[in-house]
Every structure is written in structure tokens, then in C-alpha cells.
């Protein structure tokens, strides 16, 4: 098996994730793009670990997975809060830092 095609696959997956972050406007798709970028980095790490026949690459992939889980949990709660309080799912609509109750919450019983 050749080494460079493996690295290229990882880099292309990273690139597709980057394109997803840059081109899509929904927050969920941006999060999916970040997942893809993490995966591309993980593939590169696993290939490099196999290149040196060492377990360090797999350990790096493990840390990547853990950190992705922690990041995604917090990010999804923020997305949900943005949807519930501001009624937005597009990234460009989340632009307010002021902590004032939106009018939709006041009308609730």
C-alpha cells in the first residue's frame, strides 16, 4: 500500500469539511463540516502511525475522538439555545451578544 494516497485522502476529507464550513449557512452543517475535518486529521494520524509502525498515531486519533465529543456536546447545546431563544438556525442570524429576552419568550404562558 502506498503512503501518499492515504495522506491525500485525509487531506481531501479535510478539504471537503472546510468547504462545508465555508459554503453552508446552517449551523448543523457547519458542525458536520468540523466533524469531517477532525476525521481527515485522524486519518492522517493513523497513516503516520502505521508509517512508523507505532501506536502513537492511534493514541492521537483516540484523543481527537474524545475532544470532538466534548466540543460537539457544548456546541449542540449552544445551537439548541440559539434556536429556542432566537428562533434561528442560520449562522448569519446569530449576531447578538446582548442578553435581553427576545419577544417570543415573553408571549409564552
Amino acid at each position: 500500500m502506498l503512503y501518499e494516497p492515504t495522506l491525500m485522502t485525509g487531506a481531501l476529507l479535510f478539504l471537503i469539511g472546510l468547504a462545508m464550513v465555508l459554503l453552508r449557512r446552517e449551523v448543523l452543517f457547519v458542525l458536520m463540516g468540523i466533524e469531517l475535518m477532525f476525521n481527515g486529521a485522524g486519518l492522517t494520524a493513523a497513516a503516520a502511525g502505521q508509517y512508523w509502525q507505532d501506536s502513537v498515531g492511534q493514541i492521537l486519533v483516540l484523543f481527537l475522538m474524545t475532544i470532538t465529543g466534548a466540543e460537539l456536546a457544548v456546541a449542540l447545546v449552544l445551537v439548541y439555545l440559539a434556536f429556542r431563544r432566537l428562533k434561528v438556525t442560520q449562522l448569519a442570524d446569530i449576531h447578538s451578544l446582548r442578553d435581553e429576552p427576545p419577544p417570543a419568550e415573553e408571549s409564552r404562558p
Partner: protein, 165 residues
């Protein structure tokens, strides 16, 4: 030879499904394409001699992360929302140009350079990974545990019921 064929087939599947997720109209289809991509990724990990991370890829990404994403999609569901259509305007082409430049660079770098043959693929099992993890990298494992605790605390704090004032 057979492993090469499996490798190229799997990486093609992975990249094509990731591209389909990029151009998916609805978030749920994007999530399903992402599942396909991640399962293909698990096969690639296995081909690269990592059975442990291959299993973890399935159980952690497909089993936890994607389920979380799909759960959030059902929570954010808006009926009859028009999907995203990649319009050919300036806001589409400028990032696309940057991505295409990067693509050309990557292909030039990896496809035209000298090719190195990987040595015979050695399967590095869970035992070697655990020895590294709980031997040399024990401090980082503790730091990661602390990070997970912080994330848990943040999620619990953010998702609490907002008091009626």
C-alpha cells in the same frame, strides 16, 4: 493487491459521500451521508492496522456523535423549510475559489511527488495502544478527563431551566 483495491474503493466511497453531504439539501440526508463516510473511515482505519480505533470509530462517531446530531436535527425541525441551494453568486464562488486552489495544491503535492511504499501493514492492537495511553501519556488522559468533566458541567449549566423572572 486486493487490499489496494479495497483501500481505493473505500476512500472513494468516503470522499463521494462526504461530497454528497456537502451538497445535501436537508440536514437529515447530510447526516446519513456522514454516517456512510464514517463507516468507510472505520474500514480505512482497519486497513491501516488499527482495529481498536476502527471499532471506536463506529461506536463513538456513528453511535454517539451522529446520534446526537440526528437528535438535534429532529429538535430543530422546521416543516417545509426550503433547502439550501448553492447559488452561483459571489458569496458562493469566492470561498469555492479558495477551496479549489487548496485542492489543486493538495493534488499537486501528493500525486506528483515521490511515492513511498508503506512497509507491511502491522496490526497494532488494543494492548499496545493501552500501554502507551496509560504509560507515557497518562497525564494527557487525565487532562482529557478533566476536559470532559468541564464539558459536562458546561452542558448541564447551559441546559438548565431558565428561571422565570
Amino acid at each position: 493487491m486486493l487490499w489496494n483495491a479495497i483501500f481505493y474503493l473505500t476512500s472513494t466511497t468516503m470522499l463521494v459521500s462526504a461530497l454528497s453531504a456537502l451538497f445535501a439539501r436537508q440536514a437529515m440526508y447530510g447526516g446519513l451521508y456522514l454516517v456512510t463516510s464514517m463507516v468507510a473511515m472505520a474500514v480505512l482505519y482497519y486497513l491501516l492496522g488499527g482495529p481498536f480505533i476502527s471499532a471506536l470509530q463506529v461506536s463513538l462517531y456513528v453511535g454517539a456523535v451522529l446520534v446526537l446530531l440526528v437528535f438535534m436535527m429532529t429538535m430543530l425541525h422546521r416543516p417545509a423549510r426550503r433547502g439550501y441551494v448553492p447559488r452561483m453568486n459571489r458569496r458562493f464562488w469566492w470561498p469555492m475559489l479558495l477551496v479549489l486552489v487548496l485542492l489543486a495544491e493538495i493534488v499537486t503535492l501528493f500525486a506528483t511527488g515521490p511515492q513511498t511504499e508503506l512497509p507491511t501493514i502491522v496490526s497494532i492492537g488494543p494492548k499496545a495502544v493501552a500501554e502507551g495511553l496509560f504509560g507515557h501519556y497518562l497525564l494527557i488522559v487525565e487532562a482529557t478527563a478533566l476536559l470532559l468533566l468541564a464539558a459536562l458541567t458546561a452542558v448541564l449549566y447551559l441546559s438548565r431551566k431558565v428561571e422565570e423572572s
